[in-house]
């Protein structure tokens, strides 16, 4: 990321969820952009969810499947007329399958400025034990 000083952001249009499964309610559904990275101790997920509030965000972890659902309230007034519309508003939905076993009691989620930061600590594996062999 050292070259970020020179880099200009490119437009990435919002991607609509293509699978029609489970969508019972009308309205558009988008796939949020995410960063996922892993250290020895935890998996961290960052997701761009503009317009989503702490109340309207649902994070669900079942078995190894993590589901993010974010509802977005339309923020335009009814009296407004469109002049130029480049993006659409809808909810966010994305599912992930996690590879490591996650300690469900230590999951931590923070939402700030429309970005979710989800920390998923791994279950601490038994610390390796060194067995000393004693000479008799």
């Amino acid at each position: 990321m050292t070259d970020s000083e020179f880099k200009e952001i490119q437009v990435t249009p919002k991607r609509e969820v293509t699978t029609a499964s489970e969508q019972m309610r009308p309205g558009l559904v988008f796939t949020p952009s995410v960063d996922i990275f892993e250290t020895d101790h935890e998996i961290t997920l960052l997701a761009d969810l503009p317009g989503v509030t702490t109340k309207s965000l649902t994070i669900d972890l079942r078995e190894n499947t993590l589901t993010l659902t974010g509802e977005v309230e339309p923020f335009e007034e009814a009296s407004e007329e469109d002049i130029m519309i480049e993006y659409e508003i809808g909810k966010y939905y994305r599912q992930f399958t996690l590879s490591s076993v996650i300690d469900q009691s230590k999951i931590d989620a923070k939402l700030a400025d429309g970005v979710l930061r989800l920390s998923l600590p791994k279950i601490e594996a038994a610390t390796p034990r060194k067995i000393e062999v004693k000479a008799l």
């Binding site: 952001i9 990275f37 480049e86």
Partner: protein
């Protein structure tokens, strides 16, 4: 805006919501763009951030999705004819020992100029950044406001 003027087909209303036709066109643009390397004009200007502009009798509303950007990292300037939004989106390093599985969020600088369709009052601008959504409310100049005309 320039786009609407070029493709001013009579069947296309000037003011309307994102219709099915636009959505179809967007899909086609994506396809053509992929084939021709972007030789076809697109519905949007293709400059970050994507912006929605609406109006009512009193104000213009400029909205953009800017997740993860703090208000002090944004530079908004309004002139009597338009608005400029620029800034930089920073994504901090997460340490050396991390292994990335996905990296879709983009960082970098951005700058966008938008012409508004009428004169505005530069002293009556209200910008808010909430939950990653920027809303700039710009009061229209008296000359731009629609006037009710009574027929005698």
């Amino acid at each position: 805006m320039y786009y609407r003027r070029i493709f001013d087909l009579p069947t296309w209303g000037f003011k309307r919501t994102f219709g099915e036709l636009d959505r179809l066109r967007n899909r086609m643009d994506e396809l053509y763009g992929a084939l021709s390397g972007g030789a076809f004009p697109k519905l949007s200007a293709g400059v970050f951030p994507l912006t929605n502009i609406t109006e009512d009798g009193e104000n213009f509303y400029v909205r953009a999705e800017l997740p993860g950007i703090k208000s002090n990292e944004l530079d908004i300037q309004v002139t009597s004819k338009g608005i400029s939004i620029s800034g930089e989106r920073k994504i901090p390093e997460e340490g050396k020992n991390v292994k990335y599985h996905r990296r879709e969020r983009e960082a970098g600088k951005f700058s966008r100029l938008i012409n508004l369709s009428g004169d505005v009052d530069v002293n009556k601008v209200d910008a808010k950044l909430k939950n990653g959504i920027l809303t700039v409310k710009i009061r229209k100049a008296e000359a731009t406001k629609p006037r009710q005309i009574t027929v005698k």
